[in-house]
């Protein structure tokens, strides 16, 4: 198994080196991901140390795989394999070496994060991932400032982690994860912030809006699914270890719930094809954070034994992470496929994928979007049910504050689920199943793309129907039961004594039966089918009479105009509606400030006087030294 691990790193490094032969580079990336998957599956059997090297007292570099690492490695590796295989076809459209190099090294960074057992290794992996993700973005060309915004958030995350581990070292004298159990509140807050920033939790999503529409699709899928998964992994890694902190846990719950709500709200109103799934990432990660917060709260709430709820909450976060990773990868890849075939950017323009591009990408969009809309029996349904059931059980905590904030989080999460359903219907209705307006797409190489899409569709359905198996693999067999004629372990129970139960397996069986009977009746009747145009007041619809995608969501933008800051712009012949994500105002303000400081700095330092520049360098050196002294 250790061999698999090293082989995967080797393949990623080889892939990076082979970036001048783009296809081979992706094939190596794919091989590395396959080794990672094999490594993860093998590691489910039990924890294995990989590497250990002592640098100084309390500072060791160590790598090892335990159950949690193995789970996340499997999730990430499936997404990586899909991405790499897809990229082989996709490279014909974007033959950029930087992109290939970036992706391979980004995967390498992530592979390092997943097995890191101490702060330094984690930070090395973290930094590799961030820097090379930034490198991938640069292939988009002229959007340097927007890409720098991503880098700035990435570095902010690294800085938080760095300071967090420094604080940990100051208290415990060790950088190992084992030392987290005696970490102080400062370390906890800083470390969680570092991971939360990577999860694109509001307001740390400010970089998305500018760049998501411009970068290549495989890059977008990588940033949205596996990269944010690393943030989730970080949270899942530290939260079971750190000492209980009720206030911070409630903050996490509320932050997560608000992020979910805000992501859903913004997803409804966006017009760019790729920005909608990007905001859905904000929404999903918000729910995951909320579930982790509940887990941490239930794990050690004073005076109670809520271990079942804690397990259920953690399982909820894992199921959502799983459904998000698979469905988001599928959604980005299918949308990217269609978007490239049409060569468009807006939802409004990407209509009729089913007939215009192909049934497989359309089906990919439909299945992944339905999973995000909690459509049974897909895995997203189980995830969203689990988070709601977790929040419903906040009454079990003997604290009015938890009950109140739990209810608040419940309201926000329920709204988020509703809003994201609304947004996903917009996406499905216009892109996948909309009218194609007689347009045909350009031909792009799509054999491997189709393969990846079909595999992910099957995986999403399979994970939903096989939920008991998923829960079992996640390590929560205690949550499975049987009731009312549903045999054990097909039923997932949310509480003990039983609070709520679902069985997507049973739902699937019932749905199939209910589907088969009408199909049988229909086929038996052999009725003559007459195809007619859709009914539109006696005339064929002309091009400017189709209900537009922005119009679909305008009702919400109108009703919630105070949240959206909706502005109607009307002139004699042109009209439009503009909305704004007010939570990215801080990012915008910071960008402006940095730009101003940069310009000022350039005026003072880069004015041709060598003495000023030397003074500046000297000042930076002293500053770094002083900070280092303080931290150590």
């Amino acid at each position: 198994m250790i061999l698999f691990y090293w082989l995967s790193l080797l393949c990623f490094a080889g892939g990076a080196l082979a970036c001048f032969r783009i296809k081979w580079s992706y094939i190596l990336g794919c091989a590395g991901s396959a080794f990672a998957l094999a490594c993860g599956i093998r590691a489910l059997a039990g924890p294995v140390p990989i590497f250990h090297y002592s640098l100084a007292t309390g500072i060791t570099l160590s790598l090892g795989i335990d159950h949690l690492s193995a789970l996340f490695m499997i999730l990430a590796a499936i997404s990586w394999i899909a991405l790499s295989v897809y990229s082989i076809d996709y490279s014909a459209l974007y033959p950029h070496r930087k992109l290939t190099l970036g992706i391979n090294l980004c995967l390498l960074g992530m592979q390092l994060i997943l097995v890191a057992r101490d702060g330094i290794t984690l930070l090395i992996g973290w930094e590799i991932m961030t820097v090379f993700a930034f490198l991938m973005m640069l292939t988009a060309g002229k959007f340097f400032e927007r890409a720098y915004r991503f880098l700035a958030f990435g570095e902010l995350s690294t800085a938080c982690l760095l300071l967090g581990f420094a604080a940990l070292y100051k208290i415990t004298g060790s950088l190992s994860f084992d030392a987290l159990k005696s970490a102080g509140a400062g370390a906890l807050v800083l470390l969680s912030l570092g991971f939360i920033i990577k999860m694109d939790i509001v307001p740390f999503h400010g970089w998305m809006r500018g760049i998501y529409g411009e970068i290549p699709d495989n890059c977008a899928a990588l940033l949205s699914a596996p990269v944010t998964l690393m943030g989730v992994y970080g949270m899942e890694r530290i939260m079971p270890l750190v000492p209980a902190n009720v206030t911070w846990n409630i903050v996490l719950i509320l932050l997560g719930a608000f992020s979910a709500f805000w992501g859903g709200l913004q997803a409804v109103a966006v017009g760019k094809v790729r920005l909608l799934p990007a905001y859905s990432t904000v929404e999903n990660n918000g729910m995951i954070l909320s579930a982790i917060g509940f887990y941490a709260l239930a794990r050690s709430f004073p005076g109670t034994n809520l271990s079942y709820l804690a397990d259920f909450a953690l399982a909820a976060s894992l199921v959502i992470a799983l459904s998000h990773t698979f469905a988001k990868t599928l959604l980005f890849l299918s949308l990217g496929h269609a978007k490239e075939a049409y060569n468009v950017q807006q939802i409004e323009e990407a209509r009729g994928i089913w007939s215009g591009v192909g049934r497989i990408p359309a089906l990919g969009i439909v299945v992944s979007a339905l999973s995000f809309s909690a459509f049974p029996p897909l895995i997203g349904y189980a995830g969203e049910w689990m988070i709601l059931e977790t929040i419903f059980q906040s009454y079990r905590f003997p604290s009015a504050a938890v009950a109140f904030f739990g209810a608040l989080a419940g309201v926000l999460t329920a709204l988020a689920i509703g809003l994201i359903g609304f947004a996903m219907i917009k996406l499905i209705g216009y892109t996948a199943l909309g009218y194609d307006h007689g347009r045909k797409s350009r031909h792009i190489p799509n054999g491997l793309m189709h393969g990846v899409e079909i595999a992910l569709i099957l995986l999403l359905g399979g994970c939903g129907v096989g939920l008991p198996l998923v829960i079992f693999t996640l390590g929560y067999r205690g949550l499975l039961t049987g009731l009312l004629g549903v045999p054990a372990p097909l039923l997932l129970a949310s509480g003990q004594p039983i609070f709520g139960v679902i069985s997507p397996t049973f739902i699937a069986i019932i749905m199939i039966v209910l589907l088969l009977i009408p199909i049988w009746i229909f086929l038996r009747g052999r009725r003559r089918v007459r195809a007619v145009r859709s009914w539109n007041g006696g005339l064929r619809l002309t091009e400017n009479e189709f209900f537009s995608a922005p119009a679909y969501s305008e009702i919400l933008e109108h009703v919630l105009r105070s949240l959206y800051r909706t502005r109607e712009i009307n002139t004699a012949a042109r009209s439009s509606v503009e909305v704004e994500d007010i939570m990215i105002r801080p990012t915008r303000a910071l960008t402006r400030l940095v730009r101003k400081i940069g310009e000022g700095e350039a005026l003072i330092l880069m004015n041709g006087k060598i003495s000023a520049y030397v003074t500046y360098i000297l000042f930076l050196f002293v500053l770094a030294f002083v900070i280092g002294m303080i931290v150590m």
Binding site: G537, N544, F546, S548, A551, H558, N570, R574, S575, S576
Partner: protein
């Protein structure tokens, strides 16, 4: 008050004529310089079949086409509602679907034959059209209708008003989700149609008016039935109306919806309840000199509620008016009438009648006993412009009751 209700295009023999309503009476003005006085001159000169036909573009803006076949409006007509989702940015109206070319069909026919065509322009206003046509033809041919015919015309215009107002109020209340009220009003509407049949032999009062004379007088028994019927309608309607005014759900929908300012209605040259709802008096009663004067009801708000209130109050008044006059109407019988007169065979003339939705005007030029030129000016044409303006910036929910508050018809507007 002078309102321009039509422009008659020039031909090789004469200059352009303006059809003006002066103190409620039809006047033909020959002086084209007057055109500057009337803001609706250009509109009426061109009379385009596509009203407010200026597309709106922009991100997400599309043309929500409502028509030409719909269950809601039911008439063959089409709205082009430009929107980006919820708000009506512009409301274009296409009348061409219902255009039957009735003016052209009247040419080279005798006035008597053309009178029947006038009744088919918009049959719910059949009697108004018939009266306006016959007034125009009589004025062209120098024919003086006998007093009984004049009186019956005035009286039965009110019968038509009752029927149409009941229909319109029933539609309006259904559009504003008042289904019980709508059902009761629709029962009264059917009753009113039956009373029309009782008085004139036709539910739409068709074929009872002819040039210079009256075709069919009701029997004493029919008159008696009609009197009781109108009293009953007035009583029931008053009860329903008072009940509806206590319903804030209903009033809220109509209040401040589809507001027009007095300036706007004057600019469109509107007549009828829409004008009177803005506090302006179109001398609706100017032609009633032989009978007791009808009071003209005005309101000042200019919204759908004001238009509804005007219709409701007029309806009760008209019922009362009919009941009062029908008691003595048995004595209105043909005296030395038009039969003895020798009408001219050529001339031009105009005539107007105040239909339930405003002034219907006819211009006729007759040569050798046949119609050489005919122009029909209907309240619905200007009304459609008003609808288009009133719908702008409203949300879709307001569409049905704002449209129904105007009482305009595609058949009337498109001719």
């Amino acid at each position: 008050m002078k309102l321009l209700i039509g422009v008659i295009p020039p031909n090789e023999e004469r200059a352009e004529r303006l059809f003006v309503l002066e103190e409620g009476k039809a006047v033909l003005l020959k002086n084209v310089d007057d055109a500057r006085v009337y803001p609706n001159y250009a509109l009426l000169r061109d009379r385009p079949a596509r009203i407010n036909d200026r597309p709106v573009s922009g991100s997400g803006v599309f043309d929500f086409r409502y028509g030409p076949v719909t269950a809601g409006i039911r008439e063959a007509g089409c709205f082009h509602l430009y929107t980006y989702g919820e708000k009506i940015l512009r409301a274009g109206i296409d009348l061409s679907w219902k255009a039957r070319g009735i003016e052209a069909a009247m040419l080279a026919r005798t006035p008597d034959a053309a009178l029947r065509l006038a009744e088919t322009v918009c049959s719910n206003f059949a009697f108004s059209h018939s009266v306006a046509f016959s007034r125009a033809a009589e004025s062209a041919l120098g024919l003086v209708p006998d007093l009984a015919a004049r009186k019956w015309r005035i009286l039965l215009l009110e019968a038509e008003r009752v029927t149409n107002h009941l229909y319109q109020l029933s539609r309006l209340s259904a559009a504003a989700a008042q289904k019980v009220l709508a059902a009761h009003l629709s029962a009264l509407f059917e009753d009113a149609l039956r009373l029309n049949a009782c008085l004139g032999g036709s539910r739409y009062l068709m074929g009872i008016n002819r040039l210079g004379a009256w075709e069919r007088y009701p029997s004493a028994a029919d008159s008696h039935t009609a009197i009781e019927g109108y009293i009953l309608i007035a009583r029931k309607f008053r009860q329903l109306y008072e009940h509806s005014l206590a319903n804030y759900n209903y009033l809220d929908r109509l209040h401040a919806a589809g507001v027009l300012t007095p300036r706007q209605v004057e600019d469109f040259g509107l007549t009828g309840p829409t004008l009177r709802a803005c506090g302006l008096d179109d001398q609706l009663n100017s032609g009633t000199e032989h009978l007791v004067n009808l009071p003209v009801i005005t309101h000042n708000e200019g919204d759908a509620l004001a238009r509804m209130e005007i219709r409701a109050e007029e309806l009760v008044n008209s019922c009362q008016y009919l009941a009062d006059h029908l008691t003595t109407a048995n004595t209105w019988r043909q005296g030395s009438g038009a039969e003895q007169q020798q009408p001219a065979t050529e001339g031009e003339g105009c005539g107007v009648a105040h239909s339930p939705s405003g002034a219907v005007g006819y211009y006729l030029n007759i040569r050798d006993g046949l119609i050489r030129e005919a122009a029909i000016f209907t309240p619905s044409y200007a009304g459609m412009h008003a609808v288009s303006t009133a719908l702008e910036d409203l949300i879709f929910t307001d569409f049905p009751f704002v449209f129904d508050s105007f009482g305009v018809h595609f058949a009337d507007a498109a001719r």
